[in-house]
Protein backbone atom coordinates (compact mmCIF):
# COMPACT_ATOMS: atom_id res chain seq x y z
CA UNK A 1 0.00 0.00 0.00
CA UNK A 2 2.84 2.37 0.91
CA UNK A 3 4.50 1.61 -2.42
CA UNK A 4 1.24 2.26 -4.29
CA UNK A 5 0.83 5.70 -2.76
CA UNK A 6 4.41 6.56 -3.59
CA UNK A 7 3.68 5.75 -7.22
CA UNK A 8 0.55 7.86 -7.04
CA UNK A 9 2.54 10.87 -5.86
CA UNK A 10 5.17 10.31 -8.55
CA UNK A 11 2.47 10.05 -11.19
CA UNK A 12 0.47 13.14 -10.26
CA UNK A 13 3.51 15.37 -9.88
CA UNK A 14 5.27 14.13 -13.02
CA UNK A 15 2.14 14.26 -15.12
CA UNK A 16 1.51 17.86 -14.07
CA UNK A 17 4.44 19.07 -16.17
CA UNK A 18 3.44 17.11 -19.26
CA UNK A 19 -0.23 17.92 -18.99
CA UNK A 20 0.43 21.61 -18.32
CA UNK A 21 2.86 21.81 -21.24
CA UNK A 22 0.50 19.99 -23.61
CA UNK A 23 -2.42 22.22 -22.66
CA UNK A 24 -0.33 25.38 -22.92
CA UNK A 25 1.15 24.47 -26.30
CA UNK A 26 -2.28 23.61 -27.68
CA UNK A 27 -3.67 26.89 -26.45
CA UNK A 28 -0.75 28.85 -27.88
CA UNK A 29 -1.09 27.09 -31.23
CA UNK A 30 -4.78 27.76 -31.70
CA UNK A 31 -5.46 30.90 -29.67
CA UNK A 32 -2.07 32.36 -28.79
CA UNK A 33 -2.63 36.07 -29.16
CA UNK A 34 -6.25 36.04 -27.98
CA UNK A 35 -5.23 34.50 -24.72
CA UNK A 36 -2.07 36.53 -24.45
CA UNK A 37 -2.86 40.21 -24.91
CA UNK A 38 -5.57 42.07 -23.07
CA UNK A 39 -6.40 44.10 -26.20
CA UNK A 40 -7.18 40.87 -28.10
CA UNK A 41 -9.72 39.69 -25.52
CA UNK A 42 -12.75 40.76 -27.51
CA UNK A 43 -16.33 39.56 -27.52
CA UNK A 44 -16.37 38.14 -31.03
CA UNK A 45 -13.31 35.96 -31.60
CA UNK A 46 -12.02 35.29 -28.10
CA UNK A 47 -15.11 33.28 -26.94
CA UNK A 48 -14.92 31.22 -30.11
CA UNK A 49 -11.26 30.38 -30.39
CA UNK A 50 -9.96 30.13 -26.85
CA UNK A 51 -12.61 27.69 -25.49
CA UNK A 52 -11.95 25.50 -28.53
CA UNK A 53 -8.19 25.66 -28.05
CA UNK A 54 -8.34 25.03 -24.32
CA UNK A 55 -10.86 22.17 -24.26
CA UNK A 56 -8.82 19.75 -26.37
CA UNK A 57 -6.31 18.53 -23.79
CA UNK A 58 -8.75 18.65 -20.83
CA UNK A 59 -11.05 16.41 -22.87
CA UNK A 60 -8.23 13.99 -23.59
CA UNK A 61 -7.12 13.83 -19.96
CA UNK A 62 -10.73 13.57 -18.82
CA UNK A 63 -11.18 10.47 -20.95
CA UNK A 64 -7.92 8.91 -19.78
CA UNK A 65 -8.56 9.48 -16.06
CA UNK A 66 -12.14 8.27 -16.33
CA UNK A 67 -11.40 5.23 -18.48
CA UNK A 68 -8.36 4.13 -16.55
CA UNK A 69 -9.16 5.12 -12.95
CA UNK A 70 -12.78 6.36 -12.87
CA UNK A 71 -11.61 9.72 -11.61
CA UNK A 72 -13.83 12.62 -12.71
CA UNK A 73 -11.05 15.17 -12.44
CA UNK A 74 -9.34 15.05 -15.83
CA UNK A 75 -10.45 18.48 -17.01
CA UNK A 76 -9.91 20.08 -13.60
CA UNK A 77 -6.44 18.57 -13.27
CA UNK A 78 -5.52 19.84 -16.75
CA UNK A 79 -6.98 23.26 -16.04
CA UNK A 80 -5.03 23.50 -12.79
CA UNK A 81 -1.79 22.47 -14.51
CA UNK A 82 -2.46 24.93 -17.33
CA UNK A 83 -3.21 27.62 -14.77
CA UNK A 84 0.16 27.10 -13.06
CA UNK A 85 2.06 26.88 -16.36
CA UNK A 86 0.42 30.08 -17.58
CA UNK A 87 1.16 32.06 -14.46
CA UNK A 88 4.75 30.86 -14.22
CA UNK A 89 5.28 31.77 -17.88
CA UNK A 90 3.62 35.15 -17.70
CA UNK A 91 5.22 36.23 -14.43
CA UNK A 92 8.76 34.93 -14.83
CA UNK A 93 9.20 35.02 -18.58
CA UNK A 94 7.06 37.89 -19.75
CA UNK A 95 6.86 40.19 -16.73
CA UNK A 96 10.23 39.71 -15.04
CA UNK A 97 12.37 38.94 -18.10
CA UNK A 98 10.77 40.90 -20.96
CA UNK A 99 9.18 43.47 -18.65
CA UNK A 100 5.64 43.55 -19.96
CA UNK A 101 3.18 44.40 -17.16
CA UNK A 102 0.70 41.69 -16.17
CA UNK A 103 -2.08 44.15 -16.94
CA UNK A 104 -1.31 43.53 -20.61
CA UNK A 105 -0.54 39.81 -20.55
CA UNK A 106 -2.66 38.14 -17.88
CA UNK A 107 -3.79 34.68 -18.92
CA UNK A 108 -7.38 33.50 -19.12
CA UNK A 109 -8.58 30.84 -16.71
CA UNK A 110 -10.53 27.71 -17.63
CA UNK A 111 -10.71 26.30 -14.10
CA UNK A 112 -14.44 26.90 -13.36
CA UNK A 113 -15.49 25.42 -16.69
CA UNK A 114 -13.29 22.40 -16.06
CA UNK A 115 -14.85 21.67 -12.67
CA UNK A 116 -18.31 21.88 -14.17
CA UNK A 117 -17.37 19.68 -17.12
CA UNK A 118 -15.97 17.03 -14.80
CA UNK A 119 -19.15 17.25 -12.77
CA UNK A 120 -21.24 16.69 -15.89
CA UNK A 121 -19.24 13.59 -16.80
CA UNK A 122 -19.60 12.27 -13.27
CA UNK A 123 -23.37 12.71 -13.36
CA UNK A 124 -24.03 11.55 -16.91
CA UNK A 125 -21.26 8.95 -17.25
CA UNK A 126 -21.51 9.70 -20.95
CA UNK A 127 -18.89 11.30 -23.13
CA UNK A 128 -21.51 12.15 -25.75
CA UNK A 129 -23.60 14.12 -23.27
CA UNK A 130 -20.50 15.64 -21.73
CA UNK A 131 -19.32 16.74 -25.14
CA UNK A 132 -22.61 18.53 -25.84
CA UNK A 133 -23.62 19.90 -22.46
CA UNK A 134 -20.12 20.07 -21.02
CA UNK A 135 -18.61 21.92 -23.96
CA UNK A 136 -21.42 24.47 -23.85
CA UNK A 137 -20.99 24.95 -20.12
CA UNK A 138 -17.23 25.14 -20.69
CA UNK A 139 -17.64 28.03 -23.16
CA UNK A 140 -20.15 29.89 -21.04
CA UNK A 141 -18.07 29.46 -17.88
CA UNK A 142 -14.98 30.58 -19.79
CA UNK A 143 -16.69 33.80 -20.79
CA UNK A 144 -18.12 34.54 -17.36
CA UNK A 145 -14.93 33.63 -15.48
CA UNK A 146 -12.76 35.81 -17.68
CA UNK A 147 -15.15 38.68 -18.28
CA UNK A 148 -15.05 39.36 -14.54
CA UNK A 149 -11.35 40.38 -14.51
CA UNK A 150 -11.65 41.82 -18.04
CA UNK A 151 -14.40 44.27 -17.05
CA UNK A 152 -11.92 46.65 -15.44
CA UNK A 153 -9.98 46.86 -18.70
CA UNK A 154 -13.07 47.75 -20.70
CA UNK A 155 -13.40 51.09 -18.96
CA UNK A 156 -13.55 53.96 -21.44
CA UNK A 157 -10.70 56.41 -21.60
CA UNK A 158 -9.75 59.34 -23.82
CA UNK A 159 -6.41 58.66 -25.49
CA UNK A 160 -4.76 60.29 -28.49
CA UNK A 161 -8.00 62.12 -29.14
CA UNK A 162 -10.15 58.97 -29.31
CA UNK A 163 -12.34 57.08 -26.87
CA UNK A 164 -10.68 53.72 -26.29
CA UNK A 165 -10.72 51.06 -23.60
CA UNK A 166 -7.99 50.69 -21.01
CA UNK A 167 -7.08 47.45 -22.79
CA UNK A 168 -6.68 49.27 -26.11
CA UNK A 169 -4.43 51.84 -24.49
CA UNK A 170 -2.25 49.15 -22.93
CA UNK A 171 -1.89 47.52 -26.34
CA UNK A 172 -0.84 50.79 -27.94
CA UNK A 173 1.49 52.02 -25.22
CA UNK A 174 3.55 48.92 -24.54
CA UNK A 175 5.62 48.41 -27.66
CA UNK A 176 5.17 45.14 -29.52
CA UNK A 177 7.57 45.70 -32.34
CA UNK A 178 6.67 42.79 -34.59
CA UNK A 179 2.97 42.82 -33.84
CA UNK A 180 1.49 45.62 -35.94
CA UNK A 181 -1.94 46.65 -34.74
CA UNK A 182 -3.63 45.52 -37.95
CA UNK A 183 -2.80 41.92 -37.00
CA UNK A 184 -5.20 42.23 -34.07
CA UNK A 185 -8.20 40.07 -34.94
CA UNK A 186 -10.97 41.57 -32.86
CA UNK A 187 -14.55 42.63 -33.45
CA UNK A 188 -14.50 45.26 -36.14
CA UNK A 189 -18.08 45.33 -37.32
CA UNK A 190 -19.94 43.07 -39.70
CA UNK A 191 -23.29 43.25 -41.44
CA UNK A 192 -23.83 39.59 -40.61
CA UNK A 193 -24.25 39.98 -36.87
CA UNK A 194 -27.57 38.62 -35.60
CA UNK A 195 -29.70 41.53 -34.36
CA UNK A 196 -26.45 43.25 -33.46
CA UNK A 197 -25.82 40.66 -30.74
CA UNK A 198 -22.25 39.75 -31.59
CA UNK A 199 -21.44 38.46 -28.12
CA UNK A 200 -24.32 35.96 -27.91
CA UNK A 201 -23.78 34.70 -31.44
CA UNK A 202 -20.12 34.18 -30.61
CA UNK A 203 -20.97 32.29 -27.42
CA UNK A 204 -23.36 29.97 -29.24
CA UNK A 205 -20.95 29.41 -32.09
CA UNK A 206 -18.06 29.07 -29.64
CA UNK A 207 -20.00 26.36 -27.81
CA UNK A 208 -20.50 24.45 -31.05
CA UNK A 209 -16.85 24.76 -31.95
CA UNK A 210 -15.91 23.63 -28.45
CA UNK A 211 -17.91 20.43 -29.00
CA UNK A 212 -15.64 19.77 -31.95
CA UNK A 213 -12.60 20.54 -29.81
CA UNK A 214 -13.87 18.13 -27.19
CA UNK A 215 -13.98 15.31 -29.72
CA UNK A 216 -10.53 16.15 -31.02
CA UNK A 217 -9.36 15.64 -27.46
CA UNK A 218 -11.28 12.38 -27.22
CA UNK A 219 -9.66 11.17 -30.43
CA UNK A 220 -6.23 12.05 -29.09
CA UNK A 221 -6.89 10.12 -25.91
CA UNK A 222 -8.51 7.08 -27.50
CA UNK A 223 -6.31 6.57 -30.55
CA UNK A 224 -2.97 8.11 -29.67
CA UNK A 225 -2.73 7.65 -25.90
CA UNK A 226 -4.72 4.62 -24.75
CA UNK A 227 -5.09 2.43 -27.82
CA UNK A 228 -1.34 1.94 -28.42
CA UNK A 229 -0.79 1.29 -24.71
CA UNK A 230 -3.59 -1.27 -24.70
CA UNK A 231 -2.10 -3.03 -27.71
CA UNK A 232 1.27 -3.13 -26.00
CA UNK A 233 -0.18 -4.59 -22.81
CA UNK A 234 -2.07 -7.25 -24.76
CA UNK A 235 1.13 -8.32 -26.51
CA UNK A 236 2.82 -8.73 -23.12
Amino acid sequence: MYLDRKWDIVFWITAAFFVGAAADITRLLFAGDWDFWVDWKDRQWWPILTPFATIIIPSAIQYILWAVWRLPIGASYTAACLFLASWVGRVYQWQDFVNYPLTLIWPATVVPGAILMDFILLRTRSFVLTSIVGAMVWTLAFWVANYIPLAAYLQPVQFMGHVLTVADVAGIEYLRTQTPEYLRQVENGTLRSFLDQTQYVSLVFGSTVAVGGYWIGQALARFIALWPVGRGIKRL
Binding site: W12, L71, L84, P101, T165
Partner: protein
Protein backbone atom coordinates in the same frame (compact mmCIF):
# COMPACT_ATOMS: atom_id res chain seq x y z
CA UNK B 1 33.33 11.27 -20.11
CA UNK B 2 36.38 13.58 -20.21
CA UNK B 3 36.09 13.56 -24.01
CA UNK B 4 32.48 14.62 -23.79
CA UNK B 5 33.28 17.36 -21.31
CA UNK B 6 36.12 18.56 -23.53
CA UNK B 7 33.83 18.54 -26.55
CA UNK B 8 31.14 20.54 -24.79
CA UNK B 9 33.68 23.05 -23.44
CA UNK B 10 35.19 23.43 -26.92
CA UNK B 11 31.78 23.96 -28.48
CA UNK B 12 30.87 26.61 -25.92
CA UNK B 13 34.24 28.34 -26.38
CA UNK B 14 33.95 28.36 -30.17
CA UNK B 15 30.42 29.66 -30.00
CA UNK B 16 31.35 32.49 -27.66
CA UNK B 17 34.48 33.55 -29.49
CA UNK B 18 33.11 33.38 -33.02
CA UNK B 19 29.63 34.78 -32.50
CA UNK B 20 29.19 38.35 -33.63
CA UNK B 21 27.61 40.99 -31.49
CA UNK B 22 23.87 41.28 -31.95
CA UNK B 23 22.80 44.83 -31.29
CA UNK B 24 20.17 45.76 -33.81
CA UNK B 25 16.82 44.71 -35.16
CA UNK B 26 17.56 42.98 -38.41
CA UNK B 27 17.26 46.13 -40.48
CA UNK B 28 19.63 44.58 -43.02
CA UNK B 29 17.95 41.20 -42.99
CA UNK B 30 15.38 41.92 -45.68
CA UNK B 31 16.54 41.80 -49.28
CA UNK B 32 18.01 45.10 -50.35
CA UNK B 33 15.99 45.51 -53.52
CA UNK B 34 12.76 45.05 -51.55
CA UNK B 35 13.81 47.61 -48.97
CA UNK B 36 14.63 50.12 -51.72
CA UNK B 37 11.47 49.54 -53.77
CA UNK B 38 8.98 49.72 -50.92
CA UNK B 39 9.35 52.50 -48.37
CA UNK B 40 11.80 55.39 -48.39
CA UNK B 41 12.43 57.05 -45.04
CA UNK B 42 13.61 60.64 -45.09
CA UNK B 43 14.23 63.47 -42.64
CA UNK B 44 14.04 61.09 -39.69
CA UNK B 45 15.05 62.80 -36.48
CA UNK B 46 15.16 61.95 -32.79
CA UNK B 47 14.53 64.79 -30.37
CA UNK B 48 17.16 63.53 -27.94
CA UNK B 49 19.57 60.67 -27.47
CA UNK B 50 19.45 60.74 -23.68
CA UNK B 51 16.46 60.91 -21.41
CA UNK B 52 15.30 59.85 -18.01
CA UNK B 53 12.42 57.56 -17.08
CA UNK B 54 9.14 59.36 -17.67
CA UNK B 55 10.73 61.89 -20.02
CA UNK B 56 9.77 62.32 -23.64
CA UNK B 57 11.45 61.30 -26.86
CA UNK B 58 9.92 62.40 -30.16
CA UNK B 59 10.72 60.60 -33.37
CA UNK B 60 9.59 62.29 -36.56
CA UNK B 61 10.20 61.91 -40.25
CA UNK B 62 8.67 60.99 -43.57
CA UNK B 63 7.91 57.61 -45.02
CA UNK B 64 7.04 57.38 -48.71
CA UNK B 65 5.29 54.35 -50.13
CA UNK B 66 7.08 54.23 -53.45
CA UNK B 67 5.41 53.75 -56.81
CA UNK B 68 8.01 51.06 -57.38
CA UNK B 69 6.27 48.92 -54.74
CA UNK B 70 6.78 45.32 -55.98
CA UNK B 71 3.62 43.65 -57.20
CA UNK B 72 4.75 40.42 -55.53
CA UNK B 73 4.06 42.03 -52.14
CA UNK B 74 0.45 42.88 -52.95
CA UNK B 75 -1.13 46.30 -53.02
CA UNK B 76 -0.32 48.30 -49.87
CA UNK B 77 -3.63 49.23 -48.24
CA UNK B 78 -3.19 49.19 -44.48
CA UNK B 79 -0.10 50.34 -42.64
CA UNK B 80 1.06 50.92 -39.11
CA UNK B 81 3.69 53.37 -37.99
CA UNK B 82 5.48 52.05 -34.95
CA UNK B 83 8.81 51.74 -33.20
CA UNK B 84 11.26 48.88 -33.22
CA UNK B 85 12.72 48.49 -29.74
CA UNK B 86 13.98 45.68 -27.53
CA UNK B 87 10.68 45.23 -25.70
CA UNK B 88 8.58 47.79 -23.87
CA UNK B 89 11.54 49.92 -22.82
CA UNK B 90 9.52 52.98 -23.79
CA UNK B 91 5.83 53.75 -23.96
CA UNK B 92 4.00 55.12 -26.97
CA UNK B 93 2.14 58.20 -25.74
CA UNK B 94 1.23 59.92 -28.97
CA UNK B 95 1.35 59.18 -32.67
CA UNK B 96 0.34 61.36 -35.58
CA UNK B 97 0.50 60.74 -39.31
CA UNK B 98 0.16 63.77 -41.58
CA UNK B 99 -1.02 65.64 -38.53
CA UNK B 100 -3.81 63.15 -37.76
CA UNK B 101 -3.88 61.22 -34.51
CA UNK B 102 -3.21 57.58 -35.37
CA UNK B 103 -3.40 55.25 -32.37
CA UNK B 104 -4.06 52.22 -34.60
CA UNK B 105 -3.31 51.20 -38.16
CA UNK B 106 -4.10 53.56 -41.03
CA UNK B 107 -5.25 53.24 -44.63
CA UNK B 108 -2.44 53.96 -47.06
CA UNK B 109 -1.77 54.02 -50.77
CA UNK B 110 1.16 53.94 -53.13
CA UNK B 111 2.94 57.14 -54.00
CA UNK B 112 1.93 58.90 -50.80
CA UNK B 113 4.32 60.39 -48.29
CA UNK B 114 3.38 60.05 -44.64
CA UNK B 115 4.86 62.53 -42.20
CA UNK B 116 4.90 60.79 -38.86
CA UNK B 117 5.60 61.90 -35.33
CA UNK B 118 5.73 59.64 -32.31
CA UNK B 119 6.11 60.72 -28.71
CA UNK B 120 7.55 58.07 -26.45
CA UNK B 121 8.24 58.05 -22.74
CA UNK B 122 11.30 56.42 -21.19
CA UNK B 123 10.30 53.41 -19.10
CA UNK B 124 13.28 51.16 -18.54
CA UNK B 125 16.83 52.35 -17.89
CA UNK B 126 19.42 51.20 -20.43
CA UNK B 127 20.87 51.89 -23.83
CA UNK B 128 18.40 50.93 -26.53
CA UNK B 129 18.55 50.83 -30.30
CA UNK B 130 15.36 52.46 -31.51
CA UNK B 131 13.98 52.63 -35.06
CA UNK B 132 10.80 54.02 -36.54
CA UNK B 133 9.03 51.37 -38.58
CA UNK B 134 6.34 51.22 -41.21
CA UNK B 135 4.49 47.93 -41.23
CA UNK B 136 2.39 47.12 -44.27
CA UNK B 137 -0.35 44.51 -44.06
CA UNK B 138 0.48 41.52 -46.20
CA UNK B 139 4.08 42.56 -46.79
CA UNK B 140 5.85 43.02 -43.47
CA UNK B 141 7.63 45.67 -41.50
CA UNK B 142 10.08 48.09 -43.07
CA UNK B 143 12.58 49.51 -40.64
CA UNK B 144 13.67 53.13 -40.71
CA UNK B 145 16.97 54.63 -39.61
CA UNK B 146 17.80 53.85 -36.00
CA UNK B 147 19.58 55.55 -33.17
CA UNK B 148 20.98 54.53 -29.81
CA UNK B 149 18.91 56.06 -27.05
CA UNK B 150 20.01 56.11 -23.44
CA UNK B 151 17.41 56.02 -20.72
CA UNK B 152 19.32 57.01 -17.61
CA UNK B 153 18.19 55.51 -14.33
CA UNK B 154 19.02 58.71 -12.51
CA UNK B 155 18.04 60.92 -15.39
CA UNK B 156 15.93 63.23 -13.33
CA UNK B 157 12.63 61.74 -14.39
CA UNK B 158 10.23 59.43 -12.63
CA UNK B 159 8.31 56.81 -14.50
CA UNK B 160 4.63 56.55 -13.71
CA UNK B 161 2.15 55.32 -16.24
CA UNK B 162 -0.96 57.02 -14.95
CA UNK B 163 -4.08 57.22 -17.04
CA UNK B 164 -7.29 59.10 -16.38
CA UNK B 165 -10.49 57.22 -17.15
CA UNK B 166 -13.54 58.96 -18.51
CA UNK B 167 -15.20 58.57 -15.10
CA UNK B 168 -12.47 60.76 -13.65
CA UNK B 169 -10.60 58.00 -11.84
CA UNK B 170 -6.83 57.97 -12.33
CA UNK B 171 -5.21 54.56 -12.61
CA UNK B 172 -1.69 53.20 -12.91
CA UNK B 173 -1.67 51.05 -16.02
CA UNK B 174 1.32 49.08 -14.76
CA UNK B 175 -0.68 47.57 -11.91
CA UNK B 176 -4.35 48.39 -12.59
CA UNK B 177 -6.77 45.75 -11.24
CA UNK B 178 -3.99 43.20 -10.70
CA UNK B 179 -4.91 42.55 -7.07
CA UNK B 180 -8.52 41.68 -7.93
CA UNK B 181 -7.46 39.71 -10.99
CA UNK B 182 -4.91 37.66 -9.06
CA UNK B 183 -7.32 37.02 -6.20
CA UNK B 184 -10.04 35.91 -8.59
CA UNK B 185 -7.77 33.59 -10.56
CA UNK B 186 -6.21 31.97 -7.51
CA UNK B 187 -9.56 31.57 -5.81
CA UNK B 188 -10.70 29.48 -8.75
CA UNK B 189 -7.47 27.51 -8.66
CA UNK B 190 -7.95 26.84 -4.96
CA UNK B 191 -11.40 25.37 -5.60
CA UNK B 192 -9.95 23.14 -8.32
CA UNK B 193 -7.11 22.07 -6.05
CA UNK B 194 -9.51 21.04 -3.26
CA UNK B 195 -11.67 19.21 -5.83
CA UNK B 196 -8.65 17.31 -7.18
CA UNK B 197 -7.26 16.50 -3.75
CA UNK B 198 -10.66 15.25 -2.66
CA UNK B 199 -10.43 12.60 -5.35
CA UNK B 200 -6.79 11.60 -5.14
CA UNK B 201 -5.82 11.85 -1.46
CA UNK B 202 -8.25 9.44 0.23
CA UNK B 203 -8.10 6.76 -2.46
CA UNK B 204 -5.37 5.10 -4.52
CA UNK B 205 -4.86 6.03 -8.13
CA UNK B 206 -2.51 3.72 -10.00
CA UNK B 207 -3.89 0.48 -8.64
CA UNK B 208 -7.48 1.31 -9.62
CA UNK B 209 -6.79 0.10 -13.16
CA UNK B 210 -7.14 -3.50 -12.06
CA UNK B 211 -10.73 -2.76 -11.04
CA UNK B 212 -11.80 -0.25 -13.68
CA UNK B 213 -10.70 -2.50 -16.50
CA UNK B 214 -13.40 -4.97 -15.42
CA UNK B 215 -16.37 -2.58 -15.64
CA UNK B 216 -17.97 -0.82 -18.60
CA UNK B 217 -16.94 2.70 -19.51
CA UNK B 218 -20.31 4.19 -18.64
CA UNK B 219 -20.29 2.75 -15.14
CA UNK B 220 -19.02 4.80 -12.22
CA UNK B 221 -18.33 1.61 -10.26
CA UNK B 222 -20.50 2.60 -7.30
CA UNK B 223 -21.45 -1.02 -6.78
CA UNK B 224 -17.83 -1.85 -6.02
CA UNK B 225 -17.15 1.34 -4.15
CA UNK B 226 -15.20 3.27 -6.75
CA UNK B 227 -17.47 6.31 -6.68
CA UNK B 228 -19.84 6.46 -3.74
CA UNK B 229 -23.08 8.33 -3.07
CA UNK B 230 -21.10 10.61 -0.80
CA UNK B 231 -18.79 11.44 -3.69
CA UNK B 232 -21.81 12.35 -5.79
CA UNK B 233 -23.15 14.62 -3.06
CA UNK B 234 -19.78 16.32 -2.63
CA UNK B 235 -19.54 16.82 -6.40
CA UNK B 236 -22.94 18.50 -6.44
CA UNK B 237 -21.77 20.92 -3.77
CA UNK B 238 -18.60 21.67 -5.73
CA UNK B 239 -20.67 22.38 -8.83
CA UNK B 240 -23.04 24.63 -6.88
CA UNK B 241 -20.09 26.40 -5.28
CA UNK B 242 -18.46 26.98 -8.66
CA UNK B 243 -21.66 28.41 -10.15
CA UNK B 244 -22.16 30.62 -7.08
CA UNK B 245 -18.57 31.82 -7.38
CA UNK B 246 -19.12 32.77 -11.01
CA UNK B 247 -22.39 34.48 -10.11
CA UNK B 248 -20.78 36.47 -7.33
CA UNK B 249 -17.98 37.53 -9.66
CA UNK B 250 -20.50 38.62 -12.27
CA UNK B 251 -22.38 40.73 -9.74
CA UNK B 252 -19.09 42.22 -8.58
CA UNK B 253 -18.04 43.36 -12.06
CA UNK B 254 -21.50 44.76 -12.77
CA UNK B 255 -21.43 46.73 -9.55
CA UNK B 256 -17.90 48.08 -9.77
CA UNK B 257 -17.66 48.54 -13.55
CA UNK B 258 -21.17 49.36 -14.74
CA UNK B 259 -19.98 51.29 -17.80
CA UNK B 260 -17.94 49.24 -20.24
CA UNK B 261 -17.32 49.51 -23.95
CA UNK B 262 -16.00 46.83 -26.31
CA UNK B 263 -12.47 46.98 -27.64
CA UNK B 264 -12.13 49.80 -30.13
CA UNK B 265 -10.57 49.76 -33.59
CA UNK B 266 -9.57 53.10 -35.07
CA UNK B 267 -9.02 52.92 -38.83
CA UNK B 268 -8.62 56.24 -40.59
CA UNK B 269 -7.08 57.61 -43.75
CA UNK B 270 -4.56 60.32 -42.97
CA UNK B 271 -5.18 63.58 -44.78
CA UNK B 272 -3.04 63.87 -47.86
CA UNK B 273 -0.04 66.08 -47.38
CA UNK B 274 0.12 69.25 -49.40
CA UNK B 275 0.76 68.29 -53.00
CA UNK B 276 3.93 70.07 -53.99
CA UNK B 277 4.14 71.57 -57.47
CA UNK B 278 5.84 69.17 -59.86
CA UNK B 279 8.72 70.76 -61.70
CA UNK B 280 11.29 67.99 -62.06
CA UNK B 281 11.14 65.27 -64.68
CA UNK B 282 13.62 62.46 -64.43
CA UNK B 283 14.50 59.47 -66.50
CA UNK B 284 17.16 57.02 -65.41
CA UNK B 285 18.97 55.91 -68.53
CA UNK B 286 21.51 53.58 -67.00
CA UNK B 287 22.75 52.46 -63.62
CA UNK B 288 25.97 50.61 -62.85
CA UNK B 289 27.25 49.14 -59.65
CA UNK B 290 30.82 48.22 -58.82
CA UNK B 291 30.75 45.88 -55.79
CA UNK B 292 34.52 46.04 -55.32
CA UNK B 293 34.41 49.83 -54.89
CA UNK B 294 30.90 49.88 -53.45
CA UNK B 295 30.00 52.50 -56.00
CA UNK B 296 26.67 53.16 -57.67
CA UNK B 297 26.52 55.35 -60.78
CA UNK B 298 23.36 56.52 -62.48
CA UNK B 299 22.94 58.35 -65.77
CA UNK B 300 19.92 60.53 -65.23
CA UNK B 301 18.18 62.77 -67.74
CA UNK B 302 16.78 65.62 -65.62
CA UNK B 303 14.44 68.27 -66.97
CA UNK B 304 13.29 71.39 -65.20
CA UNK B 305 9.69 72.02 -66.26
CA UNK B 306 9.13 74.67 -63.63
CA UNK B 307 9.54 78.40 -63.64
CA UNK B 308 12.45 78.62 -61.19
CA UNK B 309 15.92 77.14 -61.22
CA UNK B 310 16.18 73.78 -59.49
CA UNK B 311 19.05 71.88 -57.97
CA UNK B 312 19.44 68.19 -57.33
CA UNK B 313 19.57 67.99 -53.55
CA UNK B 314 19.64 64.33 -52.62
CA UNK B 315 18.78 60.74 -53.35
CA UNK B 316 16.84 58.79 -50.70
CA UNK B 317 16.57 55.03 -50.75
CA UNK B 318 15.42 52.79 -47.92
CA UNK B 319 16.88 54.39 -44.79
CA UNK B 320 19.71 56.26 -46.52
CA UNK B 321 19.93 59.74 -47.95
CA UNK B 322 22.83 60.69 -50.24
CA UNK B 323 23.22 64.45 -50.34
CA UNK B 324 24.70 66.61 -53.05
CA UNK B 325 27.76 68.17 -51.32
CA UNK B 326 27.13 71.33 -53.32
CA UNK B 327 23.91 71.72 -51.33
CA UNK B 328 24.93 70.59 -47.86
CA UNK B 329 27.62 68.48 -46.20
CA UNK B 330 26.45 65.01 -45.26
CA UNK B 331 27.55 61.58 -44.18
CA UNK B 332 26.63 60.01 -47.51
CA UNK B 333 27.41 61.96 -50.65
CA UNK B 334 25.95 62.12 -54.13
CA UNK B 335 28.36 63.57 -56.68
CA UNK B 336 27.20 64.84 -60.06
CA UNK B 337 29.65 65.11 -62.97
CA UNK B 338 28.08 68.39 -64.13
CA UNK B 339 26.53 71.25 -62.21
CA UNK B 340 23.28 69.92 -60.85
CA UNK B 341 21.42 73.19 -61.09
CA UNK B 342 19.04 73.43 -64.02
CA UNK B 343 17.36 76.55 -65.29
CA UNK B 344 13.68 76.50 -66.29
CA UNK B 345 13.07 74.36 -69.36
CA UNK B 346 16.65 73.10 -69.26
CA UNK B 347 17.37 69.42 -69.67
CA UNK B 348 20.67 67.77 -68.83
CA UNK B 349 22.16 64.33 -68.65
CA UNK B 350 23.81 63.93 -65.26
CA UNK B 351 26.06 61.15 -64.15
CA UNK B 352 25.48 60.67 -60.46
CA UNK B 353 28.04 58.76 -58.45
CA UNK B 354 27.54 57.46 -54.93
CA UNK B 355 30.70 55.83 -53.71
CA UNK B 356 30.05 54.64 -50.20
CA UNK B 357 30.79 51.51 -48.26
CA UNK B 358 27.23 51.71 -46.95
CA UNK B 359 25.98 50.04 -50.13
CA UNK B 360 27.86 46.92 -49.04
CA UNK B 361 27.26 47.30 -45.32
CA UNK B 362 23.53 47.72 -45.73
CA UNK B 363 23.36 44.90 -48.32
CA UNK B 364 21.33 47.11 -50.60
CA UNK B 365 22.67 46.03 -53.97
CA UNK B 366 23.76 42.43 -54.15
CA UNK B 367 24.61 40.54 -57.28
CA UNK B 368 23.33 37.19 -55.95
CA UNK B 369 19.71 38.32 -55.78
CA UNK B 370 16.92 37.72 -58.30
CA UNK B 371 16.59 41.43 -58.95
CA UNK B 372 19.53 43.78 -59.14
CA UNK B 373 17.70 47.06 -58.92
CA UNK B 374 17.94 50.55 -57.57
CA UNK B 375 14.91 52.54 -56.46
CA UNK B 376 14.33 55.63 -54.42
CA UNK B 377 13.53 59.30 -54.47
CA UNK B 378 15.54 61.96 -56.28
CA UNK B 379 14.89 65.21 -54.49
CA UNK B 380 15.12 68.49 -56.34
CA UNK B 381 14.82 71.86 -54.68
CA UNK B 382 14.07 75.08 -56.51
CA UNK B 383 15.10 78.60 -55.67
CA UNK B 384 11.79 79.10 -53.87
CA UNK B 385 12.85 76.35 -51.47
CA UNK B 386 10.17 73.98 -52.75
CA UNK B 387 11.01 70.31 -52.99
CA UNK B 388 9.99 67.89 -55.70
CA UNK B 389 10.54 64.22 -54.87
CA UNK B 390 10.67 62.08 -57.96
CA UNK B 391 10.47 58.32 -57.60
CA UNK B 392 12.96 56.50 -59.77
CA UNK B 393 13.64 52.87 -60.40
CA UNK B 394 16.09 51.17 -62.67
CA UNK B 395 17.77 47.86 -63.15
CA UNK B 396 21.45 47.94 -62.31
CA UNK B 397 24.32 46.56 -64.35
CA UNK B 398 26.79 45.09 -61.88
CA UNK B 399 30.48 44.90 -62.57
CA UNK B 400 30.93 41.17 -62.30
CA UNK B 401 34.37 40.88 -63.87
CA UNK B 402 37.51 42.87 -63.15
Amino acid sequence: MPRLAFGVALAVLLTITTAGEVAAHGERAQEGFLRMETVAFSDVSFSTSTLGPGQNLTISGNATILDSWPETLGEPKVGYVNVEAPGPVMLMKDRTVNGMSAPDAIFISKGQTYAFSMTLVGREAGVWHIHPTFAIQGAGTLIGPGQWITVESGGGGTFNNSLQLLNGQTINLETYNLAQLTLWHWLGFLVALVWILYWIIPRPTVTRLAVTSQIPLNSDGHEIGLITRRDQRVAVWFAIGTVLLLGAGWVYQQMYFPVKIPLQVIRLTPPAGQTPPRFAEVQVQRADYDPARSTLSMDVRATNSGSAAMTLASFTTSTLTFVNPAVAPAEHMLVADLPATLQPNESRLLRLTMQDVVWTEERLIEVDKPRIDIAGLLVFKNTEDVEDRVAVRSSVTPKLFP
